[in-house]
Amino acid sequence: MSAERVDLRVQVGPLELPSPLLVASGTFGFGQEYAQYVDLGALGGIMTKAVTIAPREGNPGPRVWETSAGMLNSIGLQNPGLDTVIAEKLPFLIELGVPIIVNIAGETIAEYATLAQRLGEVEGLAALEVNVSCPNVDRGGMEFCREIPVLRELVAAVRDETELPLIVKLSPNVGDVVPTAEAALEGGAEVVSMINTLVGMAIDAVRRRPRLAHVTGGLSGPAVKPIALAMVWRVWRALQCPVIGMGGIFTGEDAAEFLLAGASAVAVGTASFVDPTSAQRVREELVEFCCGQGVETVRELTGSLRV
């Protein structure tokens, strides 16, 4: 089977994507930094860095630390704020002609609603990704994933403000991820994305100091892939809902594994730090995988794990 014959188009809830290969929020800035390395127009979609209403400075450094086959980060949602993002960042992205998904984060439900309302007025966005899972902020963030009724209320408040498709990015730092996915769908989201980073920590034993200035951070990279796969599988098996899977995807086969576990699309994250061309390479490798397996449409992989 030839590569041209593999149909990469996927339907993720109401979202039609040209390919299942997206880039994950927080790992791709607002796209510009990668423009000289990757054909941005060939991506299945871009999930932006988290946007908050007011600009955020983020956490003190060191903010990153490498761990075995992974990395910890504690960026702390540094971003230039909603007004600047709308005026200076989104026009470049929308011009690319690929689905643009804006990741939003707030400290209160009202902030999420305001973000949704303002971004709902921007022409040309594909969806919003509601970030209720950042482990590196003192208020908001993943706390919203820890109280099911609050999460449901938050998503409903966002739903009231916009017609845009809603993706809720779930936290792995909960006892059971399924009720959080359920709450997101009940609140009116069509899609869940998972996983955000796992709370982790590294220590300099000689100096008796944490490696990150924020003490704890979020773990990502190949080290978390088995956890991410298991969570995608659990949510898919329980709810059969559209899932965007992510967590340590570095190869086309990694991407295929997430699709088999139930994801309709996937996102490359940490891999873009290691190699800025990762998303493109993973896409090519996924096509090769499909060719080798006689898979004509990538959609048929979703949830087709033999158990």
Partner: protein
């Protein structure tokens, strides 16, 4: 595109901890400016995962060779130190903002601390070749003699060269900034360029501010992507907020940074 496969052509152990690697590059050597860095993938596996930023020590654009100095501090640098000639390395670069145009008058003082000597060797070489009228005074400081890697490379490209070691095993006993204080007093200084430990840079920044001499520092920080996207490698900016070492730096005017927070 600033992303290529380079080949290790030479790997020389200079001291117990330092290795000088010569890489053959298609693009990076010709494009690199003093103060810039390359972002090196240590191996093809996921462990170690992230690239390592390495200052360019010097280049030979004619042959495409580019030198980096590696001090073994952990697993990644250990693997780099063990690279054999012929090994292939995935590199990005040159990246970042290098040393700015020197002022037309006054001595130029280069202050190197330990492995921070690398970007200053390149700078001294370019000053010597492109600004022949400049007078370069270099100061190299380290804990002890064994940390003075590549001192001859710097000395050979400087009009004056001084050494300070904390234990007095070479040069003056004391710190590089002790010597900087002396020459800031004695000379008409056009600018100071420094790379080394945070404490040294903070002291250089303070002395220069007091003497009203422009001071530029090349910063080190743990880094993720190297291209400005992950916001992992920030340092605190003067007046609040953060700047990225990878793309806003690694060279900063000292007064762009918040030194009180940096040395905490």
């Amino acid at each position: 595109m600033a992303h290529e496969t380079a080949e290790v052509v030479w790997n020389e152990s200079i001291t117990q901890w330092h290795y000088l690697l010569a890489l053959k590059t298609k693009h990076a050597a010709a494009a690199a400016q003093p103060g810039q860095f390359i972002h090196v993938r240590v191996g093809p596996t996921h462990d170690p995962l992230l690239r390592r930023p390495l200052s360019v020590l010097r280049t030979d654009p004619g042959t495409g060779q580019l030198w980096v100095l590696v001090r073994v501090v952990g697993r990644g640098t250990r693997l780099l130190a063990e690279m054999e000639p012929g090994a292939r390395l995935d590199i990005m670069g040159p990246l970042g903002r290098g040393w700015p145009e020197p002022p037309p008058q006054g001595d130029l003082i280069l202050v190197a601390g330990g492995v921070g000597v690398a970007p200053l060797i390149f700078w001294a070489e370019v000053l010597q070749s492109s600004y022949p009228a400049s007078h370069v005074l270099s100061i190299f400081g380290a804990a002890h003699e064994g940390e003075l890697a590549c001192w001859l490379e710097l000395a050979a490209r400087s009009d004056e060269f001084y050494v300070a070691t904390e234990d007095g095993s070479a040069g003056e006993k004391g710190l590089a900034v002790d010597l900087l204080r002396v020459y800031l007093d004695q000379r008409r200084v056009g600018a100071v360029y420094a790379c080394g430990p945070r404490g040294m840079l903070a002291a250089a920044a303070r002395l220069c501010a007091r003497a009203s001499v422009p001071c530029y520092v090349a910063m080190e920080q743990w880094m993720g992507c190297g291209i400005g996207a992950c916001l992992g490698c920030v340092v605190p900016a003067a007046g609040g907020g953060y700047v990225r070492v990878c793309t806003d730096g690694p060279v900063f005017r000292a007064d762009e940074l918040d030194w009180e927070v940096l040395v905490q």
